[in-house]
Each structure stands twice: as C-alpha cells, then as structure tokens.
C-alpha cells in the first residue's frame, strides 16, 4: 500500500444532482475515492451509474445548471477543485490533468490538422517558440505510436483510422506532461485488436511518464487488463473497492458478484447465465436504503432501511454489504 500522502486525487462524499422537471436526479450520490500517484484506477459500472458525471465534476466540465454539485470535496494534489475558479481550472485541465473521451471523431476538430490541434494543446499552457512546439508535437505523436509522425502532422482527423484518432487524443492529453489522465471509455468504440493496442500503449505511457490514470469503463475484461485498483459503482454510489484480485476473486458485494456471474465466457457453456432481475433504477427514483436491494438475492429487511456502510475487508478491500460481510466472517470463524 503506498503511503496516504502519495494521494494525488481524492473525492469525498461527492454529490451531483440534475434538476429538470420533476424530482432531482441524484446522478452521483455520495462518492468517495482516491487515486495515488502513478496508479491506474478503474471506475467500473453500467450506464447511468454516475461514473462519467463524477469525471466531469472533477474536470469542472459539468454544465451548471442543469447539474448542481450538492456536496462533497475534490482535492487534486492538495488543491480544492470545487473551490477553484474557472481560470484556475483551465490552467489545470490539459496541463496537469489530461483527458481522453470515448469518441475521438467528435472530440477532434475536423477542420484543423492533427498537428495544429496538438500544438494548440501545448501552446494553451506553455508559450514556447514555434520550432519547439513542432518538435514536441512530433515527439508526442511518436510516443503514442503513430508511424512517420512528421509526415502525419498535416493530416486531418478523417484521414486517420479510429485507433489512430484515439492515439492523437492521447497525445493531446499528454501534451503538457500531466500528473494524471482521466480516460472515459477510450476503447469502447474500437475493435478488440485496436483496443489491445491502446491499452498496451496506456500501460506503457503510464510507466514511462510516471502518471496516474483514472480509467472509466463498463468492461470488466478491460479492468482486468489495466487496473491496479478498482471502484465498482452502482446507482450513484461506490459499492465496492479493492485491487483487481479482490474484485475478481473475492467480490464482497452482490452487485459485483452478479456482474461477474452474468459475463458470458467459455467456461460457462451449457450453463445458464446469471441474470440480474429488473433494471438499473432511475436516478430520480432510487429505492430507499441500499439501491441494489430490489435486484439482490441476499436482501434482508434491513437493506431497505438505510444505505449500508462500507465493510472493511483487509488490504484496502471494502464492500458496501454487511450481509455478505457477516456471512464470510462467520464462515471464516468456523474454519
């Protein structure tokens, strides 16, 4: 376990509500997590669990209204981001905090060459002489594995394949040597072999550039490939956290267990897949207590009363389910 003073990003009790017609949607409803320096942390969850909204809140990119940060604290390297003004956030974004989104085509400007767009990301923070900017742009393209970077500077986004576009996005995120990159489903739109290339690239870059990665995904396979630690989100809260080994081999929350059981794999041929009954609750109409209780196999009357506390398994493994926790500790005491 790294020492706690090595924490780069900490999010405490973050609450983001969306106001529209009817009751407010509690998209993020008390989220706590932290990321150490040089650590890859995956935030995993299904659509609507609040994982992207959390990332946008960190980056200060939520449109307010309709969003409203209803509570919590976000600290990046000691600086409170929720108290920072727009100028301070702008200085941080792209410089110390890089970002990569899912659809590179819609994040890249179609009428500027990729060289210009990467250069813009550099110049926005570091006013360097033109030759130096060009040199750094070529270096960045080389770092992200674009062949013949000098020849590609003048290319436009439409001339690149999906994987290469995502490489360009990563180059832009790395433009100013960030301490952390937030990547929101960067490989979801890509083919598996291209996804493998991008994941390998991110793993190598993280090591070479000494940066932390917050990787948001719905794909448990990707989590296994890239994460040091994992947070599982459901309906706006973190339900489980731990190392990949904890999550995949000793899952302590029924939701995590159900997700793993629902994955179709070769070993499950001939067996029926576990399917979680019902569907994810609407963020404006969440059930009282544990938000997973209407779909859970282990539900007890207490689950409907109040949101369960995080139960502490050793080694940084926490899960928000006292039922499983008691069951496991009882079994441990017996043996």
């Amino acid at each position: 376990m790294p020492p706690t003073n090595d924490i780069l990003l900490s999010v405490e009790d973050l609450r983001v509500h969306f106001h529209g017609e009817g009751p407010a949607a509690l998209a993020v409803d008390g989220v706590d997590f932290h990321i150490h320096r040089r650590e890859t942390v995956c935030i995993v969850g299904e659509s609507g669990c609040g994982k992207t909204v959390t990332a946008l809140a960190i980056l200060g990119l939520l449109r307010q209204p309709p969003a409203r940060i209803a509570g919590g604290r976000i600290h990046f390297d000691g600086q409170s981001l929720l108290d920072a003004g727009p100028a301070e956030l702008r200085a941080l974004r792209g410089k110390r905090l890089g970002m990569v989104f899912q659809e590179p085509m819609s994040s890249l400007n179609p009428v500027f060459s990729i060289g210009d767009q990467i250069a813009e990301a550099i110049v926005a923070h570091d006013l360097l002489p033109e030759a130096e900017v060009r040199g750094r742009t070529i270096q960045l393209l080389d770092d992200v594995g674009i062949p013949d970077p000098e020849q590609r500077l003048a290319d436009y986004p439409h001339q690149l394949s999906g994987g290469q576009r995502q490489r360009v996005m990563i180059a832009m995120a790395l433009a100013c040597g960030p301490d952390m990159v937030i990547a929101d489903e960067p490989t979801t739109a890509l083919d598996v072999t291209v996804q493998a290339q991008i994941l390998t690239l991110l793993r190598n870059l993280k090591r070479v550039k000494n940066m932390a990665i917050q990787y948001i995904t719905h794909d448990l396979g990707v989590v296994a490939a890239i994460a040091d630690r994992v947070y599982v989100m459901y309906a706006g809260i973190v339900v489980e956290q731990g190392t990949t080994a904890h999550i995949f081999h000793q899952a302590g929350h029924p939701y995590t267990q159900a997700l793993l059981a629902a994955l179709p794999t070769r070993d499950k041929r001939g067996q029926r897949l576990y399917s979680i009954p019902g569907s994810v609750p609407h963020p404006a109409y969440k059930p009282k207590g544990c938000p997973f209780h209407p779909r859970c196999e282990y539900t007890q009357p207490s689950c409907e009363q109040s949101l369960p506390e995080m139960c502490d398994y050793s080694g940084g493994h926490h899960a928000r389910c006292p039922i499983i926790f008691e069951h496991l500790s009882r079994r441990q005491n017996h043996s």
Binding site: S161, A196, A224, L263, P264, T265, R266, R269, S279, V280
Partner: protein, 324 residues
Amino acid sequence: MSDTLTPILKVQGLKKYFPIRKGFLQRVTAYVRAVDGVDLTVAPHQTLGLVGESGCGKSTVARLILRLTEPDGGSIQFKGQEISRLREGRFKSMRKQIQMIFQDPYSSLNPRMTVAQSVAEGVRIAGIRVKSDQQRRIRDLLEMVGLPAASADRYPHEFSGGQRQRVGIARALSVAPRLILCDEPISALDVSIQAQIINLLKDLQQELGLSYLFISHDLNVVSYICDHVCVMYRGQIVESAPAADLFESPRHPYTLSLLAAVPDIGKTAWSPQPPNESLQVSPAPQCPFGGQCPDSIPECQGEPQEMVQVGVGHYVRCRRQTLR
C-alpha cells in the same frame, strides 16, 4: 438426406464487391472486396458464430443472405433451395422464414408505432387475419420474450435498451421464422442486460427449434453461445471450426491474434500481440492477412489459399498448414 442433416442455410462462394468511384465522371477505379467468396453452413437448431472486426464484411454477409443488398456472386441455399436468384415475389415468402435482429433496437423500431402495432405487422404477414387471433398472437409473442402484457400499448421510447431488444425479437418471431440472423444483438446493452437477452435467445432456440447466425465481435459471447464459429477477415473466412476447437486450438494467425487481444478477467498476464491497423481497399489476391501476419513465409505470396482441413469440421485458410 434426412431433414435434420440438411443444413438450414448453406452459403457458397458468396461475393459482394463495392465499387470505388473517383473523379468527375465517377469512374470505377477499384473495388472493395467486402465479401469475397464466403462459405457458411448453419445446421438446424444450431448457432453459427460469425466473428471479425469492423469492416471485415460480417454484417454485409447477413444483408446478402436476406438480399437487403444484392450479391455479386455465389449461392445461398435455404433448406436446400437456392434463394439467391429467386424473383422478388417468390423470395418474399422465403424471407418470412429468415428474420434479423439488429444491434440497435431503437433505430430499428418505428418510434410512432406502439409495440403491438409493430408486432402486428408481422402477425398479419404471417397470415393471421382474424382480429382476435392477431391480438392473442401478439400477447403470446410478448409473453414469449418476457415483456408484460401492458407493454403492448406503449411506444419504443418508453422502454429500456434491453426491453427494446425484446420488442425487436418479438417482431422477428412474429412471422414464425426458422432462421434468425442476429447482428450484434447485445453489443449496445449493459452487462447485466446482455445476460438476460442471451438467456432469452437460448430459451427461444430450444422452445421453437430456431437456428441462429450470430454475428459479433465479442469473442467471449461467441465462445459461450455458439456451436460452430467462422472467423472472418477482410471479406474472407480464414478459419471455421466447432466452437470448442476454435477456442482451444486456433490455427490461423489472425484467430490467434484476435484471441490474444481479448481482455479476459481470468487472464492475469495479458500481453496481446495484435496485428497492425490498415485500411481495407482491394487487398492483394494472396493471403488477406499477409502484411500483418507474424508468421508469414515466402510461400504466402503465391496464389490465393484455399481452406485446408485440419480437424473434424475444422478448416483454416493458411499456407503454412499445407506445408506441415
């Protein structure tokens, strides 16, 4: 030949070349060999997986079978009858027996029609004329796909992604098909919902004796659901094998790299060696995998390679297999 042995679908040498036009006169300068001599066999009550990456031609194969796109060559036999050259009128009655489920159920459902109206179209086409019989059939179909009876009068936007896919399945079933072409039916769905739809497809297969052509890029899903798998690359089938064989002893270098690229929660040391990216424009006549292949040998440059049998029902399109 007995009925159980006649394949429900037999595709041979299927071809579709899309012209690339250039210049003011839009002259055809080259062809994209989207589907370049594809052979497939779907056995009755079985699921054939067709896997490959985007642009490999797998969806085009499905469109060609249904003749949503006209093929440029090859034969398509449905229950032993050639259907690729039937006139539109004759083919219409055939098409009832082959249905399709699409990736995005939202864009394939009419937003102005209630679920009952969408499904009713198929029920009428299936020849049920009496109103009350139609109503009963719609109710049965919705029940079959696990939708509450009350959903009949609701519109597509009122449903979640998984429920919409159920509507798409109900509509496909409304004409009582024998074969369903499933084109990435669960790719757009969340993990917990994927399992529900996969279970539903398996249940329906058993209850109704359906056959599936299951098109997907997700090898985990394919390894779970399919009986036999064909791997497609740049318009050609490069490997075809019973699912267990394909995943346990893959033979084609492309299949190997594809399998290595799949992140797997069981794999701790995941180190893929994926092929290079490049565009699909008129590949050379030799091996389509050529330039990207880690194992290529001078002999790969020769004539196009035929499929070579390497096991029971296991075929590979690779020159190296002939030299063993």
